[in-house]
């Protein structure tokens, strides 16, 4: 094989790898991107069922309720427009409390409840999940 031809093949292979990565990523993103919702985005419209999503808003006042098993929590996330009931099984972060911001990761159930597998509360005084901040400015009803 000539050196020139080999170089051409190598260049094409490299290009192929880059395109392949792009295609693989595009198909993965289409299926697995987890979108961020505020309660107002989902209530009254089609629920994104069967997909991992994030739900963010404020924990409604007096809405946190503990199950007898000691590890399951029920609460309501609201954004001033709508409210979504959330069920979480696990250890809630320390800064998780009523009337403060939360981002729940999980899935919607067909009845409209949100099953959270993870909760992110405001991390410390200096850190705030940027998407929550954006949503709060957008809806204008939440301050933290």
């Amino acid at each position: 094989m000539k050196a020139k031809k080999q170089r051409l093949i190598l260049a094409l292979l490299g290009l192929g790898a880059v395109i392949g990565a792009g295609l693989l990523a595009a198909s993965g993103l289409k299926q697995e991107a987890s979108f961020f919702y505020a309660p107002g985005d989902v209530v009254g419209s089609d629920l994104p069922l069967g997909k991992a999503v994030r739900l963010g808003g404020m924990v409604a006042d007096k809405s946190i309720r503990h199950d007898p098993d000691g590890v399951t929590i029920h609460f309501i996330v609201e954004d001033g427009k709508a409210a979504v009931p959330v069920i979480f099984k696990g250890i809630a972060p320390d800064l998780f409390k009523e009337k403060s911001g939360v981002v729940a990761e999980g899935e919607f159930r067909a009845d409209g409840a949100f099953i959270a597998s993870n909760l992110l509360a405001k991390h410390d005084e200096r850190y705030m999940p940027p998407e929550l901040e954006g949503k709060m400015h957008k809806t204008g009803s939440l301050t933290s």
Binding site: A25, A33, S34, G70, D94, P129, E131, G134, K135
Partner: protein
């Protein structure tokens, strides 16, 4: 006084970086004035010394807790333990950027002092590129991130270092990664230098190789340590979260792994010339992307503590200038790079090309998955990309790569026959196939990725020690040992990942004191929960008694800690290591009925993940020492012969 001295040193070093770049440029241009080019070396060394001293000034300010310096006041506290006072110097934005440029300048000084293999003009061009790189970061420090800024009036005491970062492992984590990033910058400077002087060939590859190897070892160590830190400090029981900050260190590692293999082809076989140069540009670009992601505050993650758009824009501009400049230079000069030596489709070179292609695909997938949420955010769309995207896409390609990794070292350079390669691979492949069947029978509901992963790990484990077969182990060169150890480390880590994700046991319960619960093969009893006090924190600590079957009981002490400066709560998991895995316990909250939440994991073979990581790093170190030693010996015998 010390702060002003530090700032002065920083300005002087920046000035020397300008002189270094300009001298280099004129030295290359005015070939009749060798004195210009000769001056580049001492200037590079002087720059390294000055910036090293500036960094020492910063450490000193942190040690004496000089609260009149804004950076110290914002990140330190007088009652912090000494280790964290020192590590506080680089546990923040400004300090870590100063460390970045200090390591960069010291690497430049190192090349200036020690490098004797490349042509004189290539070395000058390399140091010029190194000076220009440093200059951008000096500008960044001086104009937007001055670490020595004073605060008037000085506060009574500082605000403290984020408690999550107050951990011995993490004290050394950023410097380790920075050495890795910066090592890539040296490889990049060599590539730029060789492109400028049209000197792309084996000599340049041999000069670049130790830096690539060293940087790769550091990145491997940094990633391994960072993964273990996230595992025990975050209390979520996971060892890899595909967090953008983790990806920021993984991407340069992937590129460096590809570069490491192609630079070997160039050094020993004089093939893959333009390819290697391109990879060194990519590897450095990934280091820049990593620095940008971590330091600009664009991220949605636990590490993004502050958002400052001005800095982000500055870093973005620097990144685009350097990457764009290097790509433009590559496009201009790639025509002058001669074709390398030819090889057959079945040969070790071809296997290494395949390694590079697979690594490129993984890198592309990780890069797109990491940047997509940031770009989408720019368009007003809030997206997060997690394990459901990364695991199948990157994992499947990684498994193919690991199979190639087992085969590559068993192939001959230049040309080999497929049937002979298959015969050499017969035992590993047989083991792989048998384990596919056995594992499926024993654990029918195992996930696809862990199932394939475990079998691939067994195939690769046996395949990676095969190059030692029938060899005199004492006469096997050190760098061959390095390759075997590193490849075996990959197999070990993969086995750990597969076994842990397939067979871990998790238990989440609320129990009263004295109550017992089960997780995996263990029974765990909550004995008591008491308050405890540490140097700068208070905590509630549980005492648990665990035993495996009828074995000897042992105690665990998970804590929920509360730091006062800055006020933060952290969870300290209790972890006990056993030969076949780890028991991991987290203390949760107390309910109104007095019961405590406990989260327990039994994680079989999870330790293999980090053991494998350290083996990979050790392999890289052996290869580095072996290469340097052989070249020293080669140089000496050449002198004797002459």
């Amino acid at each position: 006084m010390i702060a002003e001295l530090g700032l002065g040193l920083l300005w002087l070093a920046a000035g020397l970086a300008i002189i270094q770049s300009v001298l280099g440029m004129f030295g290359l241009w005015q070939t009749n004035r060798p004195d210009l080019g000769n001056a580049v070396r001492p200037v590079a060394v002087a720059q390294a010394v000055l910036i090293g001293m500036a960094f020492c000034c910063l450490i000193y300010l942190f040690i004496v807790s000089d609260m009149s310096v804004k950076l110290v006041a914002a990140n330190s506290h007088s009652d912090k333990p000494m280790l964290y006072k020192v590590s506080g110097a680089w546990g923040n934005h400004e300090g870590s950027m100063l460390l970045w440029v200090a390591v960069l300048a010291m690497a430049g000084g190192g090349i200036a002092l020690a490098e004797r293999r490349v042509r004189r003009d290539t070395l000058i061009a390399t140091l010029m590129a190194q000076g220009l790189l440093a200059l951008g970061f000096y500008a960044f420090l001086l104009f937007s991130s001055n670490p020595f800024e004073r605060l008037n009036p000085a506060p009574q005491d500082g605000q403290g270092l984020n408690p999550l970062l107050q951990d011995p492992g993490l004290a050394f984590h950023p410097p380790t990664l920075y050495f890795g990033y910066v090592g890539m910058s040296v490889a990049f400077s060599f590539a730029v230098g060789a492109l400028i002087t049209r000197d792309v060939g084996p000599a340049f590859a041999r000069a670049m190789r130790p830096w690539v190897l060293g940087a790769w070892v550091m990145l491997t160590l940094g990633i391994t340590a960072g993964s273990y830190w996230a595992y025990y400090e975050l209390g979520w029981g996971g060892w890899w979260f595909w967090d953008p900050v983790e990806n920021a260190s993984l991407m340069p590692w992937l590129a460096a792994t590809a570069l490491l293999h192609s630079v070997t082809v160039l050094a020993t076989r004089d093939a893959l010339r333009a390819w290697t140069v391109m990879l060194s540009v990519v590897a450095f670009s990934m280091s820049m992307v990593g620095t940008f992601l971590v330091r600009s505050g664009v991220l949605t993650s636990v590490h993004a503590f502050a958002v400052d758009p001005q800095r982000g824009t500055f870093l973005l501009a620097l990144m685009l200038i350097y990457i764009g400049g290097a790509l433009a230079l590559f496009a201009l000069r790639v025509g002058t790079v001669r074709e390398g030596a030819v090889f057959e489709p079945v040969s070790r070179e071809a296997a290494l090309v395949l390694n590079n292609l697979f690594l490129t695909v993984i890198l592309g997938v990780v890069l797109i998955g990491t940047l997509y949420p940031i770009v989408a955010q720019g368009f007003g769309q809030q997206v997060s990309i997690g394990p459901p995207y990364f695991n199948p896409a990157a994992g499947s390609v990684a498994l193919m790569l690991v199979v190639v990794m087992a085969a590559g070292p068993l192939m001959r350079w230049r040309s080999d026959s497929a049937s002979k390669v298959l015969r050499r691979l017969a035992i590993p492949v047989a083991i792989g196939i048998v384990s596919l069947l056995v594992v499926r029978l024993l654990a029918p509901d195992m996930g696809v990725l862990p199932w394939l992963g475990l079998s691939t790990a067994l195939l690769a484990g046996t395949g990676s020690i095969a190059p030692l077969w029938k060899r005199n182990l004492l006469q096997t060169p050190l760098f061959t040992w390095g390759m075997v150890v590193a490849h075996l480390g990959i197999a070990v880590a993969l086995a750990g990942m597969a076994v842990d994700s397939a067979f871990y046991k998790e238990r989440l319960v609320a129990v009263s004191e004295g109550e017992t619960t089960e997780v995996g093969p263990f029974s765990v009893k909550l004995v008591s929960v008491e308050p405890v006090i540490g140097p700068n924190w208070t905590a509630i600590e549980a005492t648990m008694e665990a035993r495996r079957g009828d074995g000897r009981p042992f105690t665990l002490h998970p804590q929920a800690r509360n730091y006062s400066t800055p006020p933060t709560d952290t969870s300290e998991a209790a972890i006990t290591t056993h030969l076949d895995g780890q028991l991991y316990a987290v203390l949760g909250k107390q309910g109104k009925d007095g019961r405590w939440q406990l989260r327990l994991w039994w994680k079989p073979l999870v330790t293999f993940i980090w053991l494998g990581g350290f083996m990979i790093a050790l392999g890289g170190l052996l290869a580095l020492v072996g290469r340097v030693w052989r070249e020293r010996r080669g140089a000496r015998s050449a002198e004797l012969a002459a």
